[in-house]
């Protein structure tokens, strides 16, 4: 593919509101996970809750979009001058020439969960105030962001479970390459809700302790929430060394099982190989891999096999989910932004929380951060339904 430049990017998760705090947490190997006190959830688990989401207000003109998911989106857009960067691009390129492609798995379904508790005792009807289109529907996330920034280009939500906001990079780069748009706001937004907390619990996939990806004693995920955004544009005349480029996108399907990965990671392997082909790179060109690394026994085992199958056992890798939790539909974009920070600041992130790396996993897992210049980073995102996506980002110089 023709590389695209990340003109602006930002992330808000439990390890930080914006890039400054996120970078600080990565340097300090800090986890943002804490015991679950979310809403009325009564579960013995840890979550990565973003502070201050409920206090975030939306602009009055977009009041009907009010829900935790869009509040988190708004909070995210306000960091690092991101909204202003998009507005600048829209005024330069035209509002119809900027697309919006966001990933989410549950959007504002919390609003529906709350509405189901307030059904009319006689008719069973949902409360008058419940707005399906602006909160429940997956598109509400992209619809909110598009209206908030007054964009008029094509838009869609990609909802492929936990690969959603990695796959938006593919959707955006294809549409830019086809010439239908000149820039795209991509990203992911997912927020805590009872559906995912109780749902993953029902599948016995949640750990009671903060998740420990690749640890011998790993026993499940910790659910997190995040809003992460990237503004993608064609590489123009001027790039500087610190600019980060999107070099490759690789996608595949397991065609194996709805909620379990292929045991040898065949689909994951094909996604990584496709990303390398797309970028025109050999495996040795990748300096660090940000793993999907959810902390379930089966994911980490199959991913480790896939990674060593493609890269051998020397390429440093880690999962940042011990720090951020698994932010589900936002994970792809959040980890792309973490990868961009790693490239820009010569930081190889640590696998926070992991004490004893599972010796049967052959990938070169880092328990502690390193300072080392990185030229190219690969980031993995896999989801229910057997959907896989790998991204390759690199420094411009």
């Amino acid at each position: 593919m023709k590389p695209l430049v990340l003109k602006a990017f930002t992330a808000t998760s439990c390890i930080g509101r914006g890039l400054g705090q996120t970078l600080e947490s990565l340097h300090a190997e800090r986890s943002g996970l804490s015991r679950c006190r979310f809403e009325t959830a009564d579960l013995d688990t840890h979550v990565g809750e973003v502070a201050g989401v409920d206090a975030q207000e939306l602009p009055a003109r977009l009041g009907r979009f009010d829900c935790r998911n869009n509040r988190l989106a708004e909070l995210g857009l306000q960091q690092d001058g991101f909204a202003a960067a998009v507005e600048e691009a829209a005024s330069r390129l035209g509002t119809k020439r900027v697309g919006v492609f966001l990933g989410t798995s549950t959007a504002g379904i919390l609003q529906t969960e709350l509405a189901y508790r307030r059904r009319d005792p006689e008719s069973g009807a949902l409360p008058e105030s419940f707005d399906y289109a602006a909160t429940h529907n997956p598109f509400s996330a992209a619809d909110y962001v598009r209206r908030r920034l007054r964009l008029e280009g094509p838009a869609a939500v990609v909802s492929c479970a936990c690969a959603s906001s990695a796959k938006v990079f593919g959707a955006a780069r294809r549409m830019i390459e086809a010439g239908l748009i000149d820039a795209a706001l991509v990203g992911g937004i997912d927020s805590l809700c009872l559906t995912t907390l109780y749902g993953f619990h029902s599948l016995q996939l949640c750990s009671t302790s903060p998740c420990r990806p690749f640890d011998a004693a790993r026993d499940g995920i910790s659910i997190g929430e995040a809003a992460a955004f990237v503004l993608l544009e064609r590489v123009g005349g001027r790039v500087c060394g610190d600019d980060v480029l999107l070099l490759g996108v690789g996608e595949s399907n397991d065609a194996y099982h709805m909620s379990a990965p292929h045991p040898e990671g065949q689909g994951a392997r094909r996604a990584m190989e496709a990303a390398l082909r797309d970028a025109g790179l050999e495996p040795a060109a990748i300096d660090y891999i940000n793993l999907h690394g959810t902390g379930t026994p089966s994911n980490d085992r199959s991913e480790s096999q896939a990674v060593t199958g493609v890269f051998g056992a020397l390429t440093p890798c880690s999962s940042t989910k011990g720090a951020t939790g698994h932010t589900l539909g936002a994970a792809g974009a959040l980890e792309a932004v973490i990868s961009a920070l790693a490239l820009r600041h010569a930081l190889v992130p640590a696998g926070v929380n992991t004490l004893h790396v599972d010796e049967t996993l052959t990938a070169h897992y880092l328990k502690h951060r390193r300072s080392a210049p990185l030229a190219r980073v690969l980031s993995n995102s896999f989801g229910f339904g057997g959907t896989n996506c790998s991204l390759i980002l690199g420094r411009a110089g």
């Binding site: 529906t112 969960e113 086809a178 029902s202 996608e251 496709a274």
Partner: protein, 265 residues
């Protein structure tokens, strides 16, 4: 900018519309449109254990996808796919919300796995063994055009054959009052980058266009305006008429997609 693709196969299922052959005659005005409940076939492509777990949208999506690939005489496992829908399995969503509102909060693990928006795409890949990339979109009422654009862009940019599947089905009450999608409607197109002997038409699409096309037949227009997947009907009508013509399709609130249809006689 324009993106183009050739149509190699079509699948349709909806209220009173059982397959492309029947839909084609209705859209050509050769037979009257009679609205009747959509009949969803059992997803025989799936292993029995998986089949029992599937709800209406999975059956709908798999049925139209199978029709289109059979019509195009292509091996489903070879195709990339783009799925697009406004909603998922309404019954499943309702049951989950109901369980979470009850004191015990007993969530069924199968219901939770099936709640992902990409469940139909996941089942399709399991059923057919398709390991090529698949993506699943949502753009509320604009989901058909979002899927069409993504599919045609993939055909143009990546020069790959794409199976496009759009579908939407009803919610039970109380969600139905908030999102009144009538019955179930799905459509699928096999799109190819190059013209083939079996190609039905060439599509050229661009973003924008004035005067969205509506359907003259009131029953079909009601379906088009109420079921997001049925916003494909004006395009299907042009394909049925097999004349060089263009149609303007409803996309997002403030936008449309113009498609030029040229039959491959």
């Amino acid at each position: 900018m324009i993106v183009q693709a050739f149509v190699a196969g079509i699948g349709v299922l909806g209220p009173g519309l059982a397959g492309w052959a029947e839909t084609r005659s209705v859209l050509r005005g050769e037979r009257p449109y009679a609205c009747a409940p959509t009949v969803l076939p059992a997803p025989t492509l799936l292993p029995a254990a998986e089949r029992r777990r599937t709800g209406r949208v999975v059956k709908l999506a798999l049925a139209v996808a199978a029709q289109a690939t059979a019509h195009a005489a292509v091996e489903p496992a070879q195709l990339r796919s783009v799925f697009s829908a406004s909603g998922g399995d309404g019954e499943n969503c309702h049951e989950l919300c109901q369980s979470l509102a009850a004191p015990a909060r007993e969530v069924s693990p199968t219901r939770f796995s099936n709640s992902v928006h990409n469940a139909p795409a996941g089942y399709w890949s399991i059923a057919t063994g398709a390991t090529a990339p698949s993506t699943v979109l949502c753009a509320f009422d604009g989901s058909f055009c979002a899927g069409l654009l993504e599919a045609m862009v993939q055909v143009s940019v990546d020069e790959e054959r794409i199976l496009l599947v759009v579908y939407d089905a009803q919610y039970p009450e109380p969600m139905r009052a908030k999102r009144p999608v009538p019955d179930a409607f799905g459509a699928a197109l096999v799109l190819t980058p190059a013209r083939q002997p079996s190609s039905l038409a060439r599509l050229r699409a661009s973003i924008g266009g004035e005067s969205i096309e509506r359907l003259a037949q009131p029953g079909l227009e009601a379906l088009r305006s109420a079921n997001p997947a049925a916003r494909a009907l004006p395009l299907l009508r042009r394909l049925a008429l097999a004349r060089s013509d263009r149609t303007v399709l409803e996309y997002l609130e403030d936008s449309s997609v113009t498609v030029q249809v040229e039959p491959c006689a």
